[in-house]
Symmetry: C2
Subunit: 284 residues, 2 copies
């Protein structure tokens, strides 16, 4: 049994409903394609946990803003299909935009508060697009578990909130960020970097590691940590910092004094690429 | 087997999941309680069509605006329970507000365009509250069919749009408006009317009937119809007209020349009550 590619939402739902009625455990990995090790890791986790694994591949226009890279977003369907097949994925759900957003479409899901901070500032409407398409995917593919990368920490917090608030019957599984050997978080957008930018981009990870070391050494003052991270980022002129945020991992509320489960998150522009990264800490 | 009252969303979902896995057809009737013949008619339709009938009873705070009648909205749980039991309803889902909107709740479903016209003008946020709670109910009670009254024509159009847009796997069934013997559409809010207001309130129906007669006689000019309806409403000084709208039944776009499936809708304040009514026409 190779991988089966499905474009039609109704067909997809029928397949999954049938599998559910046969008591199969269903795992969903929502993606925008152009797979890297991060995506493959999500697929492996789903493959370990579930009887039926569905990967959705949809470059979702509603989560791109005006002037963002929707048209240029890297796509390579055939390569993606082969990679997913190698991971033992059962279904690749790859709808057309017109299948997902037919004429007259006008319904949006919005997670207030969480969507308007951090990446939401530079990308207004982005998380509304994410929440809307993920709600649609959860209805088309009624999975027991859905897998998301920890790299998109704000997206994860928003999806968890949405699933709780709307009573969506799915378990959200977060999977640790996969990194290149020099620490750069894997991202489909890394392809936008030239070799100079590629080297400079590692400063996001280096800044996070610096924060981790300071936290290990007992530092609990968020402003001190942010200041040191900024200093480090400023040594790379090709990197234009967008934000460094230190916040709790559920409400994304900025912290002054570090405690509990918290997120240190960073976003920057490097050439054409907008890159994000983060680390989670549990200070009990 | 009497009716079973359930407050907890998780318990409710488990019951319905079990019934679904036993191949039962599930019907849902979402209500805010204080049942009248309109509600009972929805239950009867569901009872005819389905194996398992669930009525939800939840006065949903997010669909009431500031200064609206959330606190005063009529409630009589015990009477409602008995009435639903008489109709052979299997489950009455009656959650507390804190079960539906726990602390930190911040996700909303919005149907743009359709929510901002007609009743949406006087009640900003109302249909966002409706769309959000109905999405939640569809996730808690994964029914095959859900029953709504035609009286709330705009709500119906919005829910149909939402179900299509978000790929919610439920069939929306609309049930004709049930009227008092003098034509007044049944509404829980009719209880707000004193006897003078009660008599005056029939002018909504009389205006719709006037429109129906004129359409029957061949009138196709919306402004002529609206003018005649307004004239009639103005004969009742206790009735303060909010709007008369003549529009298509899917996009709720105002029509100048009547054609196709269309809606003639009216809203007015009568004393403390805000009343709505409508008639559907199919001019082919």
């Amino acid at each position: 049994m190779g991988i089966e590619v499905i474009k039609n939402p109704e067909t997809m739902r029928e397949k999954i409903q049938r599998a559910r009625s046969e008591k199969h455990l269903i795992g969903l990995v929502p993606t925008m394609g152009f797979f890297h090790e991060g995506h493959l890791e999500l697929m492996r986790r789903a493959r370990e946990d579930c009887d039926v694994v569905v990967v959705s591949l949809f470059v979702n226009p509603t989560q791109f803003g005006v002037g963002e890279d929707f048209d240029d977003y890297p796509r390579d369907f055939e390569r993606d299909r082969v990679l997913a097949e190698k991971e033992g994925v059962d279904y690749l759900f790859a709808p057309d935009v017109s299948d997902m957003y037919p004429e007259g479409f006008s319904t949006y899901v919005e997670v207030k508060g969480l969507s308007e901070v951090m990446c939401g500032i530079a990308r207004p409407g982005h998380f509304r697009g994410v929440a809307t398409v993920v709600t649609k995917l959860f209805n088309i593919i009624p999975a027991h578990k859905a897998y998301f990368g920890q790299k998109d920490a704000q997206q994860l917090a928003i999806i968890r909130r949405m699933v709780t608030d709307l009573n969506i019957p799915v378990e959200i599984v977060s999977v640790p960020t996969v990194r290149e050997s020099d620490g750069l978080a894997m991202s489909s957008r890394n392809i936008y970097l030239d070799s100079e930018e590629r080297k400079a981009a590692t400063v996001l990870y280096r800044a996070l590691k610096r924060a981790a070391e300071m936290i290990d050494a007992g530092e609990r003052d968020a402003s001190v940590l942010k200041e040191k991270m900024k200093e480090l980022v400023s040594t790379e002129p090709l990197v234009s910092l967008e934000y460094i945020e230190i916040c709790d991992n559920i409400y994304l509320k900025p912290l002054q004094e570090l405690s509990g489960e918290l997120l240190v998150a960073i976003a920057a522009r490097v050439g054409r690429a907008r890159l994000i990264d983060n680390m989670l800490f549990d200070l009990g």
